[in-house]
């Protein structure tokens, strides 16, 4: 781990955090993040660039705690069926979006 790598990792993480704070919508953020993750994993790029894009940008951009906080609204109101339904729908939708991104970047090359 050299200094340049750490600095670029920190800068991409800051950029992702401010973008998340600016958009302020957990559903849109998770979909964009999954699409980008699927787009990057099928590309053949160097290992350090891949680390910076995946653990730096995509992981800081999407947040699991924001997702749980979104589902917490249903616990207060007592809609337990709705809670279970929303969890499944969001996860399956994100899986499909990631698959679309994966196939799209394969077709482009």
């Amino acid at each position: 781990m050299n200094k340049k790598y750490l600095l670029s990792l920190l800068l991409t993480a800051y950029f992702a955090t401010f973008l998340r704070f600016y958009l302020n919508n957990n559903f849109v953020i998770s979909i964009i993040g999954s699409f980008l993750y699927g787009f990057v994993i099928s590309r053949t790029i160097s290992k350090s660039k891949r680390e910076i894009l995946l653990t730096g940008f995509c992981s800081c951009f999407t947040s699991f705690s924001g997702f749980i906080h979104f589902l917490y609204q249903f616990i207060i109101q007592g809609y337990y069926l709705k809670l279970f339904l929303y969890f499944n729908v969001i996860v399956i939708l994100n899986l499909i979006i990631m698959y679309i991104g994966f196939q799209l970047s394969r077709k482009l090359t």
Binding site: T17, Y37, C60, Y72, L95
Partner: protein
């Protein structure tokens, strides 16, 4: 946005990123105690979120530091989706269902655990 808000978010996100990379580094090094680093990070962040919600903090600076900066950078949703995607690609459907249920149960168990600690 003021300069103070930016500094609070930067400090929180730096701290969260360091903790996540530290957990990843440990899991790669020790092959004997191999565990799923993304599951650990997500469960830990949902425990912290439970404590944070239970305390009912309305101080704006603390929300920016802890909720937006620290927890946002510590937990990752897209890596969790990628793990599920990878299990489907390798055609391990039983492990896919088990991992899915594991995350659903553990995250809410630890969230409720953190929530009820503060109400004692």
């Amino acid at each position: 946005m003021k300069l103070d808000d930016i500094i609070y978010i930067l400090a929180g996100s730096t701290f969260g990123l360091i903790v996540r990379i530290f957990v990843k580094h440990i899991s790669l090094r020790k092959k004997v105690f191999s565990f799923n680093n993304i599951l650990i990070v997500n469960v830990l962040s949902s425990l912290f979120l439970g404590i944070f919600v239970g305390l009912n903090i309305t101080n704006k600076n603390l929300v920016l530091f802890f909720s937006v900066g620290f927890l946002g950078c510590l937990s990752t949703f897209s890596s969790f989706i990628y793990q599920l995607f990878n299990l489907i690609q390798e055609r391990k459907y039983l492990r896919f269902v088990l991992y899915y249920a594991e995350v659903l149960v553990l995250a809410f168990l630890f969230f409720c655990f953190g929530y009820f600690i503060t109400s004692i």
